[in-house]
Amino acid sequence: MPKRTDIKKILIIGSGPIVIGQACEFDYSGTQACKALRAEGYEIVLVNSNPATIMTDPEFADKTYIEPLTPEYVEAIIQAERPDALLPTVGGQTALNLAVELSEKGVLDKYGVELIGAQVKAIKVAEDRLLFKEAMWEIGLETPKSGAAYNFNEALEIVKIVGYPAIIRPSFTLGGTGGGIAFNAEEFEDLAQHGLDLSPSHEILIEESVIGWKEFELEVMRDLKDNVVIICSIENFDAMGVHTGDSVTVAPVQTLTDKEYQYMRDAAIKVIRKVGVETGGSNIQFAVNPQNGRLVVIEMNPRVSRSSALASKATGFPIAKIAAKLAVGYTLNEIPNDITKKTPACFEPTIDYVVTKIPKWAFEKFPETDPVLGTQMKSVGEVMAIGRTFKESFMKALRSLETGKKIGSEKLDFERVKERLITPNPDRLTYLRYAFELGYSVEEVQELTRIDRWFLSQLEEIARMGQQLREERIDSITPARLREAKRMGFSDLRLAFQLGATGEEIRQKRKEHGIVPVYKRVDTCAAEFESHTPYLYSTYERECEAAPSQARKIIILGSGPNRIGQGIEFDYCCCHASYALKEEGYETIMVNCNPETVSTDYDTSDRLYFEPLTFEDVMHIVERENPDGVIVQFGGQTPLNLALSLQAAGVPIIGTSPESIDLAEDRKRFGKLLSDLGIPQPPSGTAVSFEEAEVIAERIGYPVLVRPSYVLGGRAMVIAYDSRTLANYMDEAVDVSQDRPILIDKFLEDAFEVDVDTLSDGEDVVIGGIMEHIEEAGIHSGDSSCVLPTYLVKAEHLDTMRHYTRMLAKALNVIGLMNVQYAIKDDIVYVLEVNPRASRTVPFVSKATGVPLAKVAACLMVGRKLAELGLRDELKVDHFFVKSPVFPFMKFPGVDTILGPEMKSTGEVMGVSDNFGQAYAKAQMSAGVMLPRSGTAFISVNQHDKKNVIRIADRLHQLGFKLIASRGTMMVLREQGIPVDRVFKVYEGRPHIVDLIKSGKVDLILNTSLGKDSFYDERAIRRAAMQYHVPCITTLSGGAAVANGIAALQQQKIDVRSLQEYHEALSNGVLERSESGH
């Protein structure tokens, strides 16, 4: 069937901010869908609240709305745009849920919008666990025994039937939020209650446990002609009980015979037909009993998913792109396979390599929570690696993780090996190796972990090899042996550790003996047909298919796995660099190992190397490709950390020089530069011991901010008010960064923080954006909301910052992007830090100004000048653009939601309007914080804040809020004549504040930290606020912004406007060359 011509305009809903369970894989799928449908001539209207996405670049849609993903706002967009159809299947759970809501509210009918890709009925059958089970029963497939409960008593009845352990799963939540395994009645009560709370439909499913069974996933596609194909099969290394998003997963399936696999395939086809997903991709999960092969269906996701992104990268088959085409009526056989060109997309990819995905967690950021893995997803990112054997791909994936730990420095607890194997946890892979080194047998480990023996025996082989290598020495090891180890995936650094040598020595020895990797292609067909797409991975084999060209070419190093502090923003920048350089006439080569991203789409760059971002792996690519330049500025800290060693090895790094990068990162030398330039900075020092640290702290005065050098996202950064905290810190921090000192800064209390992103070509400097943080310094810039343009910063300070920024760009001879963080206190502007690279805010500034900063920067790096590109003056904006962070606290029971200098947010959203209040309220709404329009506000602030809270309290009062406060705060407010009632703190009597929160009597909380004495009280308040969805503001500056936001909300205005319109009104001289775009 040809494409439909009765629809012309299609609305696509994105997935919103990056959260655990929904990350940049949906930027990848959304971008593909936009591209594919536009190429077919459809007019695309896109809505997504996340500015850091490629899909929200104005050139990917005809109209791009960065607006809250709520029914009201999307309705307003529908009203303005009148799309013919809505594609809800590329924006994750968010888009699906929103589409269902719009349909149920009658919005789609009202405006005559047709859902394409999945119908409401199908979405419901797939997403409603109970309907799904019924449907499975009807087609003769088994699911675990279960029942649905809508209240706590029903839940108790059901658990009597299914027994313990029982799985609790709330309906319609993301990544298993609120779910878990209850091993006993006590755990059950907690989980059931929590789950009922969290499910939008107040429904939980209580299910028989099949923990320990094998877990599998199939990625299925179907078209309107009922052709169904399986794109990829995935086997989970971790058994059932660990969320697939937290499992090591492997493609293709390894341990099923053809009969068993085909049985599963038949089941998957039956499922997609029964559920009634008419077109597109779906993900179906199965569990298989390892004793007898009994198969049960676990769930189906009727949309593209994290796994489908992985499957696309694993096979070279672009699921989202094809799904979009199917949604407009094409059939699979009508769509060509991009890679072979000659064969159609209607086939099942076959692969001749093994793909391993390993998740990356961030438990170290949430020390109050147990690092235990279960049915709820906790990981914040993942890496994928491709190898010709499982061992090779596994080892490559491991080194892609960038743990930052030196090989051999892990602290392994001999006493707890069994425990660490039994309970799934982020360190289990290390303990598996350790167990084999200690002589555990595959059978013993299997019993403890329930991981399939096949996988275990593979790990055992690796462990054995490691042990044997330890007996050898660098000069005695035979080339054959070295090759064998490399073929198994051992990195040079690991070999160096085993052989007691340096990485460089290993590298030299290998090269002497010609032991270097070759590159093979990912081609969907195991070489049966010729591949036209250089999507490559390294392996130690005989034949190389890299076939590098003689063109002028640039390598762009990506940012590796997503983590808190380094996420989609950097991938965004890498993609932009690639787009821009292509337009400049270069061949672009991307190196990255993150399967979720747009950068690892084979379509993004001319060539894609799906490889770990280590010195060794990057050098091999450089040696093979011989590029004219390598860019390290866009991938966050990951490539930056390689800059010096790459340069030392003769790699042509373009843009700001590695020396300058190093200078900016080296506190001592950088401090000297600042004082030479006469730029103030907080007094500081570096220390390698507690004694040294204490001396410094005494000299500069407490409070001080301490942290290790060379980390991103404020990792392991704390504010120490006294020497005891400092001592504790020194004890723990040492393993974060072994041979780098601790940095100690004077902590500037109550200072404004400002971020500046700037472009420089070595001569001229153009400031891209000056962003004022809503929260004061001390809250990590990534966790603070910020607004462009600034609205409270004095003009003279803006000028000072402009001046400093220019000086710094010149002094560091920046070519490309630079980010400076300033703090303003007592009318002095301090520099907090300089990042001579793309920063987290680059996409935000680009969206606000309409100038793609990263593209410009890439052009500068290859020698273009700002003036040539039409950029002379500081970029302007003529609306308020607010960026707000999104936090994962919900996923980590027990953690405190207080903000600090260590970054905790996973993603961001943007709110735009013509006044600050509305822009802020929209950003908050997009971030999932529903500010109340009226009601009761609870205020409790520390001594220090008492004076300044008055203004805010008064404002809330004016806005019609009833105020309640703790005793101290109450007294201050009453003195000012503000009406306020007293409420008990937790230990003062009942009902206390937490009781009030739980009974829904509080609508807003303003609570600044009183210091550690009242810690318990405060934490209880903040936890309760989170659980009961009461906005809880922990800074005064945040409180003031919230009051502004509420004032705006009271106007009841729903304003929507596309980026294209915003940009048109501006005259920033959009980068001429890039305008035609992608």
């Binding site: 003769g140 341990t255 007898n292 010709r388 195991a526 047909f529 084999e541």
Partner: protein, 381 residues
């Protein structure tokens, strides 16, 4: 232990032996299925061939006696990237290396199979040898060049059964005692048993099982059985099986088939399809490197639907050579537009080039067995 693989055009690969310690020769081909090495090895269509598996990890789930497709392995040898040291599956009875040794089959691992496949893709399927004895590349290449070629060889004769036999086993039930009562596999549809004579040119067990499943009472007969002998069994239908190698030299079967066309309903698979093509006056030719795998898209021309099919053939019937007034093309390969199935416009006869019985491979095309049954029932009336 070391082993050497040599191709007739001089290319050699060193690897490790994982099966019998001896030598083997045959035409080297590749199969792109991700699963099913055991079915592939025991498929008699691979007689005369050394199979390269493109999926690099082989042996992971071991070998079980249920998954054999014939009485023994027929492939001449196996080429893989890595052989599993430990295999894991609840049905496994032995490891793949054990199985190879038991059947004196040569296997070579640690080969850059992708390089080999690309070579075959570019230069065509060719003769090869694997040896654990002669490790001298020059000598092994020379000896490879002296082995017989595939074209013109009647391999069906070598793999067919010696005398007729009955078969009454239905499809395998993977989970015999672990299934709710209402979803036991349908089993054979006992009502209206149909007598079917199945020619064994190298028939696979799963074909027999699926024929039983669709209600056939089977007599399997040797390739050389004559038309009179077949008709004497008073069959309701005749089945022509898959089999190895070049169809052209199987002249006796072509003659027999010609005599049977129009007399009884006929269903052919793979070699059976090619023999029908030849019997109807068509031509066959050899593909450069054949179709072997489980992911080939085939268009059902009438329904305009795509089936993902299992394939295993080196020769094809030339679409243009078939008489258009007699033959209707029913299936086309979407990858290269070659003929995948046809039926006769006047006689009860249809056949497919691919393997609806799969094993290994997807089950999309099982309806053909039902079609066969309907054809026989219609013809009976």
């Amino acid at each position: 232990m070391e082993a050497l693989l040599a191709l007739e055009d001089g290319l050699t690969f060193r690897g490790e032996s994982f099966g019998a310690q001896e030598e083997t020769s045959g035409e080297v081909v590749f199969n792109t299925s991700l699963t099913g090495y055991q079915e592939i090895l025991t498929d008699p269509s691979y007689a005369g061939q050394i199979v390269t598996l493109t999926y690099p990890l082989i042996g992971n789930y071991g070998v079980n006696l249920q998954d054999e497709e014939s009485r023994r392995p027929f492939a001449e040898g196996l080429i893989v990237r890595e052989i599993a040291r430990l295999s894991s599956n609840w049905r496994q009875e032995m490891s793949l290396p054990e199985y190879l040794c038991r059947h004196r089959l040569v296997g070579i691992s640690e080969i850059d199979t992708r390089a080999l496949v690309r070579h075959i893709r570019n230069h065509g399927a060719m003769r090869a040898m694997i040896s654990t004895v002669d490790l001298d590349p020059e000598s092994l290449v020379r000896r490879t060049q002296q082995t017989p070629a595939m074209v013109g060889r009647d391999l069906a004769k070598e793999v067919t059964c010696q005398k007729p036999y009955g078969w009454d086993e239905g499809p395998l039930d993977l989970f015999p005692d672990d299934k709710p009562a209402d979803q036991k596999p349908s089993g054979s549809k006992v009502a209206g048993r149909l007598r079917v004579v199945a020619f064994d040119f190298g028939i696979k067990h799963n074909i027999l099982r699926l024929l039983v499943d669709s209600g056939c009472e089977l007599t399997v007969v040797p390739a050389t059985t004559t038309a009179d002998q077949v008709l004497a069994l008073r069959p309701d239908g005749i089945f022509l099986s898959n089999g190895p190698g070049d169809p052209e030299p199987v002249t006796y079967a072509i003659r027999t088939i010609r005599e049977l066309i129009g007399k009884k309903p006929i269903f052919g698979i793979c070699l059976g399809h090619q023999l029908l093509g030849l019997a109807l006056g068509g031509r066959t030719y050899k593909l450069k490197f054949g179709h072997r795998g489980g992911n080939h898209p085939v268009m059902h021309l009438q329904r305009r639907q795509v089936e993902i099919t299992a394939q295993n053939h080196g020769f094809v019937v030339d679409l243009a050579s078939l008489p258009e007034d007699e033959i209707e093309v029913t299936h086309i390969n979407l990858n290269d537009q070659t003929l995948e199935g046809f039926r006769h416009r006047h006689h009860p006869l249809f056949c497919v080039q691919y393997h609806p019985e799969a094993s290994p491979g997807p089950h999309d095309s099982r309806y053909l067995f039902e079609d066969f049954r309907s054809m026989m029932l219609n013809h009976k009336q």
